[in-house]
């Protein structure tokens, strides 16, 4: 896929960091404001998709980027399962909010609600990497080409 005109490239170069930052904000404040891991993850993936569409796929056809996407997706799911199993390690039932029981924190603060922000971060990492990798496979790869 070829890139677009320099106007589109310049504007998307300015916009993509803002979209990425908004995605990180939505993920981290998922337990306080509307949004959460899934919405923020799709926003982060959208920032990368915008860059790929504007600059063309030739600059992005590096093996390392796709490898990083798979690694981050697997790490996100592993982190989520680890948070769920952490209750069993502590000796309480599965998926119990162990951090909130030990240190509840103040409601409406950023560091509150125990494992819920951590779960949001894990989901956001998994969704962002997974959707971006699916986009790369669907729209960029040609037949008989190595991913």
């Amino acid at each position: 896929m070829r890139g677009m005109t320099p106007i589109v490239q310049c504007i998307s170069r300015l916009m993509a960091p803002s979209i990425f930052l908004l995605g990180v904000y939505v993920v981290l404040h998922g337990h306080l404001t509307p949004g959460g891991g899934f919405a923020g993850g799709v926003l982060i993936a959208g920032a990368f998709v915008l860059l790929v569409l504007a600059f063309g796929s030739d600059e992005w056809r590096s093996r390392a980027l796709n490898w990083n996407a798979t690694v981050f997706e697997s790490l996100g799911l592993f982190f989520f399962w680890f948070l769920a199993v952490m209750g069993l390690i502590e000796g309480v039932p599965f998926f119990v909010n162990v951090i909130a029981k030990a240190n509840p924190g103040h409601p409406y603060r950023l560091f509150s609600a125990g494992i819920i922000p951590l779960c949001n971060a894990a989901i956001g990492m998994e969704v962002a990497a997974g959707l971006f990798f699916v986009f790369m496979c669907l729209a960029i790869l040609k037949m008989g080409e190595k991913p």
Partner: protein, 177 residues
């Protein structure tokens, strides 16, 4: 409220019909976008900002992926049906729509009025969400604490779907046909 909702719903139905009937696949996909963005406005009017955020982002990304896929393949809808098969499909469709409307009208007579909750189970979640989990966003408290198993399963399903897509689309290790 209903005076705003009904035109949006009619617009969604029109978009779906245009998306089905248009011969140009690109205009069909853009008509699909009408459905998603009208649904976003409906979610906002019904005071569900969580759903509205997810709907508008996922709709935009899905449209971009579909348009990118169409630009790489073809723009024309080439499916055609003739004669007896077409009459049969139309007949089955009309009978199904009539049966669906009949059942729906009977069901809506027994539902509580618009805006009042159906389930008694929602009230304990609303009352105990903040004190038991400490999360100010009630939706996050429900999907990651009370119903955490669901979200864990969803994340696993998404991982499996991405793995399956990559396994189908990859070319390394696949035999040449």
């Amino acid at each position: 409220m209903l005076t705003i909702l009904v035109p949006l719903l009619v617009l969604m139905i029109l978009g779906a019909v245009i998306a089905l009937e248009s011969k140009d696949l690109l205009s069909g996909i853009i008509s699909l976008g009408i459905i998603g963005f009208a649904l976003t406005i409906i979610f906002l009017l019904l005071q569900a900002p969580d759903l509205a955020i997810v709907q508008i982002i996922v709709e935009t990304l899905t449209l971009v992926i579909l348009i990118a896929a169409i630009l790489k393949t073809t723009r024309e809808d080439t499916t055609e049906t003739f004669g007896f098969k077409k009459i049969l499909l139309w007949g089955i469709g009309l009978i199904a729509i009539a049966a669906f409307l009949l059942v729906t009208v009977n069901i809506f007579k027994h539902l509580p009025p618009f805006g009042s909750p159906v389930l008694r189970m929602a009230q304990p979640y609303i009352d105990l969400g903040l004190p038991m989990t400490g999360a100010a966003n009630l939706v996050a408290a429900i999907i990651l604490d009370f119903r955490g198993y669901d979200t864990l399963g969803e994340a696993t399903v998404l991982f499996t779907a991405v793995a399956g897509t990559v396994a189908v689309l990859r070319s390394v290790g696949r035999k040449r046909a």
